[in-house]
Symmetry: C2
Subunit: 352 residues, 2 copies
C-alpha cells in the first residue's frame, strides 16, 4: 500500500515525507543530486530507507554516465558517493549502502558501461529487497511473542515510511493486525519532531488499523488503566549488553512498562547491534537543535531565549527490555549470550 521509494526504469520515484500527512506528493527524478537533497531535507527519512535511496542514487549516477574510461567513471561515481555521504553524517545504513555500491564500482574492470549500470541497479534493488525481507523476518518473529489479541503502544515511526518493507516495530504491529491478533494500537505523537503524529498515524490509517494518537505523557496513564498489553519500539543502536539507544521518550516508556509489568519489546535488524559498544555508555547522545523544542512546524511555542535540552535519543538499560526482536531471531537477557547464539557480534555498525 505504502511505497515511499520505487525504481522506475532509470528513474527513482519517491514520496516527499515532509508533506505528510496532508499531501501525498511523489517526486520522480533521474538525478542523484535531487535524491541527496531529499535525504537532507528529510523528504526521505528512516535509517534503512535512507540507505536504500542512497544506493539507488548511485545507480542513477551510473545511468547518467556516457564515458567508458575507467578513471573518469570511477571519479564521477565517487563524487556522487561523497555527496550522498554528506547528507546525514550519523546514519549508519547510509554508509553501509554506499560501501556496497563502491564495491560494485571497484569490481568493475572497465568493460561495457552498460554492465556497470546494470550491476549498480542490481545492487540497489538487492539492498531494497533484503531490507523488505529483514522486515518480514522481524515481523514474523515478533508477532509470535505477543499476547493475542493485543493492544499495543508504539513510539516514533518505524514502518513502511522508514524502511524498504513493512517496517520493524510497526511491521510487527501491521503483521499482528493482518493475522487478527491486534485489537488496537496507541501511537505516541513523539515530540519534538512528531513522527508518530505525522507519519505513524498516517500509516496506520492507510492500513485501516484501529489507532489512537496520544501526547507522549499520556502513555503511562494508559498503562495504569490496563489498556496496553505490550510496548514495541525500534532502535537506533543496540549495545552488546542489550542496552538500546532509541528516539527520546523510549526510556520513559520502558520505565513505565516495567512499573506496570507490561512487556517492552525492541525490534531492529542485526545491523543495528554495534559490536563495538559494550554497553549503552559507549553510545554518544546526539543533541538536536533548540528550535525543534521551541517551535512546532515553524510555529514558535516558547521564548527563543529560554534554555533547551534536546537529546535526539535516550538509552534504555537492558534490564528494562523483555526482548530484542531481530531478523535472525529473538534475543533475551543475558543479551550478550543471546546475541552470540544468533551469531550476532560480527557486524560492525560504524566500521566506516
Amino acid at each position: 500500500v505504502i511505497v515511499p521509494l520505487e525504481w522506475r526504469n532509470g528513474s527513482l520515484r519517491f514520496l516527499d515525507q515532509t508533506k505528510l500527512p496532508f499531501e501525498e506528493l511523489y517526486i520522480e527524478t533521474d538525478e542523484a543530486g535531487v535524491v541527496a537533497e531529499a535525504i537532507k531535507r528529510l523528504a526521505i527519512r528512516g535509517a534503512p530507507l535512507i540507505g536504500i535511496a542512497a544506493a539507488y542514487a548511485v545507480a542513477l549516477a551510473g545511468c547518467a554516465l556516457q564515458e567508458d574510461d575507467l578513471g573518469i567513471v570511477r571519479e564521477r561515481l565517487s563524487r556522487t558517493v561523497d555527496l550522498l555521504a554528506s547528507t546525514r553524517p550519523t546514519a549508519v545504513n547510509l554508509f553501509w549502502a554506499l560501501k556496497r555500491q563502491q564495491r560494485v564500482c571497484s569490481e568493475w574492470q572497465g568493460n561495457s558501461i552498460d554492465d556497470l549500470r546494470e550491476r549498480l541497479i542490481g545492487e540497489a534493488r538487492a539492498i531494497h529487497r533484503e531490507d523488505a525481507e529483514m522486515c518480514e523476518a522481524i515481523s514474523s518473529f515478533g508477532v509470535k511473542l505477543l499476547p493475542s489479541p493485543a493492544s499495543l503502544l508504539t513510539h516514533c515511526n518505524t514502518g513502511s515510511l522508514a524502511t524498504g518493507g513493512r517496517g520493524t516495530a510497526a511491521g510487527i504491529i501491521t503483521k499482528a493486525w493482518e493475522l487478527g491478533r491486534l485489537t488496537h494500537v496507541y501511537i505516541d505523537e513523539t515530540r519534538p519532531l512528531l513522527q508518530g503524529a505525522r507519519l505513524t498515524a498516517w500509516e496506520m490509517k492507510k492500513r485501516n488499523i484501529p489507532a489512537t494518537l496520544i501526547v507522549d505523557s499520556t502513555a503511562a496513564f494508559l498503562m495504569q488503566q490496563r489498556k496496553i498489553d505490550a510496548v514495541i519500539v525500534g532502535a537506533d543502536r543496540i549495545a552488546m549488553n542489550g542496552d538500546v539507544a532509541n528516539k527520546i521518550g523510549t526510556y520513559a516508556l520502558a520505565v513505565s512498562a516495567h512499573y506496570h509489568g507490561i512487556p517492552f519489546y525492541v525490534a531492529a535488524p542485526v545491523s543495528t547491534i554495534d559490536a563495538r559498544a559494550e554497553s549503552g555508555r559507549a553510545i554518544p547522545i546526539e543533541e538536536r537543535s533548540r528550535t525543534e523544542v521551541t517551535e512546532v512546524q515553524d510555529r514558535k511555542i516558547a521564548m527563543p531565549e529560554i534554555g533547551v535540552y534536546s537529546p535526539a535519543f535516550d538509552v534504555t538499560p537492558n534490564q528494562l527490555i523483555s526482548a530484542v526482536i531481530t531478523d535472525r531471531g529473538v534475543a533475551r537477557s543475558p543479551f550478550s549470550e543471546s546475541f552470540q547464539r544468533l551469531h550476532i557480534g560480527v557486524t560492525r555498525v560504524d566500521e566506516n
Copy 2:
C-alpha cells in the same frame, strides 16, 4: 514582578495570557462581561486566578450599579454571577469565589449602594490577598522539604500567572531560588496546551532563574542522568487518601521519580483537597477536544481523522507521592491521618 491581575480604582487590569510569551498585552476594563470573556478564552487562567478575577468582575458589576432598589440590585448582580459561573464550569475556585460575593450581596440590606460597592471590592481584594498568603505559606513549607541546593523538575504552570501570589509548585521553586537553594529548574513543555513552554518558561526567565525547557518525554532521561533532585507539581484535585488528579503527564513523572528514588512533591492549597472523594477513583477524568492533540497553536500536525485520546489530567496514586505541601502544613502517607492532623476534611471542594 509578574502581575496578571490588578484592581485599579474601579477598573480591572489583566494580562492577556493567550499572547504570552511573545507579547505582554494588558487589558483594562470596567465591564464584568469583558472579564467573563477573558476567562472563557483562557486570557485569564489557573484555577486560583480565575476565582480572583471572577470576584473582581462582580465588584465591577457593583460599581456599575446606579439603582438603590434592593430587588433590582440583587437581580443585576445575580445575572453577573451566572455569566461568570458559565465560563469554566469545572473550575472549583470560580464557584467558591462567586459564593463569597453572593454572600456579600445577601448580607447587604439595601442601605447605600456605595456601601455594597465597597464591600464587593473589599471581598475581592480579600480573596486576592488570601490567595497570595496561601502561596507564601505553601512556599515556606515546601522550601524546607527540599535538599539544598536542589535541581528541580516541574510540569505545567503553577506560578504567578495561575494564582494571586507567587504560585504553588512554582512558588516553592522561586522561593528556593531567592533563598539561594536552587541550582536549576527543568520545565516540561506540557503537551497538549504547552503551559510549561509558554508560561512557566516565561515566568522563570522573568525572574532570571536558570531554567531549561524539555519535551515531556525527556524528564525520565534527565532523572537517569541524576540531574533532578526532586519533582514538584501542582494539583487539580486531591482525594482524602492522598491520590492526586493533576495535568496529564503528572503520573508518568511520578512513576519515573519512584523508579529513580527521587522525591515527588505535590503543592496545593487545602481547598484543593476534596473531602467527598475517598480515593482517586472518585475523581472524574475530563476528556478534552481532539484538536488539542492534532493541532499545535492552530497548526495541524496530524490527520484530522485519526482517533485521539486526550485526558486533561491523570490520577497519581498516593504511594508515589512523597508529600502534599499545603498552606496549612505538609501531609505525608498515610494521608488521611495526616490531613486530619492539619484539620483538613471540613472543606468541601464541590459543595456548590
